[in-house]
Amino acid sequence: MSAVDVQELAASYGAGAPVLRDVTFSAQGGQAVAVLGPNGGGKTTLFRALLGEIAVSGSVAIEGDVAYVPQTERARLDFPVSALGVALMGAYARTPWYRRLGAQERERGTAALRRVGLEDRARDRFGSLSGGQRQRVLLARSLVQDARVLLLDEPFAGVDRASEQAIIAMFDDLRADGRVLLIATHDIEQARRWDRVLCLAGRQVAYGAPATTLTTQALEETYGAEIVVLEDGRRAVAQHHHHAHP
């Protein structure tokens, strides 16, 4: 059975027309899927649909918990919380409201930070960490949450090259656990790295292995006039907008 199975999904905000339609794909445990598309293409809408935040038609079947890992600057960087405190937020949903987080949860939080290589920064304020470190702390939170499916919103935005490599290594580690990663990105070259790619432009344009899916036609349908051909024949997106939630 697929860990994520989406059939004929259409999603809309309120009573309006669907902003995303005709989405059908599935992903097995251990797979990473790039969700590729321009601003307004439906990447965030797909994530919100998978989280059950908006009404959808069609069917969505997900095995286990889903964690959403936002862009780090979407969190309040001025809020007084440590890296360990953020990791422990992954235990909130499983802890009754009347019970304090105990030693067991703290050990899980510390272990998650150790796994992302930040145990020594556990007491540091989240907002004082670099973009790449913050991203890793948010990944630690999803580990504490023990989510089977991770929805990652532009995880490489604002991250330096060294941190990007560290995060990619972590993604490989998470895939080895059997987790499914859905990685929203604008970056075509980044999308080629993963097992599958889902192209969205208000609808599903294409889905499959990058080598066969990222064709000139699919990229032009996904990005329209934004796509340019580089000298070496590769395609790139001409305008790199900031990501915006609808």
Binding site: A67, D78, P80, V81, M89, G90, Y92
Partner: protein, 282 residues
Amino acid sequence: MTEILRSGLLQRALLEVVVLGAACGALGVWLLHMRHAYAAESLAHAMLPGLVVAALVGVPLVLGAAAGVLVAAALIALAARDTRVGSEVAVAVTVTSAFALGAVLALSPEVPARLGELLFGDLLGATTGNIAVACSLAALVAAGLAFGHRALVLAVFDPVAARSLGVRPARVELALLALLAVAVVAAVQGLGNLLVFALLVAPAAAALRLGRSVRGQVVWGAALGGSAGVIGLVASAELDTAAGASVALAAVAIFVVVAVIRPRSAAGPRRRSPLETLGAGR
């Protein structure tokens, strides 16, 4: 000062203001983190007609305050639903209208209470019943903050991911505004319609500069709020000044002192439009 403290009148007032100050100071920390300072001021001011009507009819002011808060919140929400109006204008128009209506009613000869008592409170006139009501409502606020701590943390720190972690930020914000209404209702009899705002915001603003964690900030907020009550009330007895106004000035003085000692806030909230609070989408 020992003689002052022996006065039963002042002892009751001290008890009430310490409890209210602690509850308002702790609540204020979360209001500032959620950037709802303007909501606090709006709700406090917009309840004036309810207070005046309660005085006219002869029911406890606390009931009038509760009705005033509910009507004001409903009017703001209703007006803000109209996109041609918007939440900012809705809050401003509702608060101004409610305050003006309250002043007109209060100046009618049928109103037994003087307008000044409604606007500035009457700490020294606190009865045992007043204190019991204030303590009960303050306990409700404290319990809400304690049991809702984790939900508040997620709703403030990471509202985008909160739902996947089991928390609905919009509901948390509504719950916080409900606690605000409870605190304002509890404090208005003693501190008045205009001055309650000082206890909600000034100690909390100081606490944000002192606490290294949000729990620490909440504890600082409660301690500074209670201290403002004691300092203000003792000063008012010594200097023969208005009690409510003295407490408000003490709260602001505490903030100024802390701001001088600790000019950089380790965790101060970012500035944004103050009116992104009540109304549409809330």
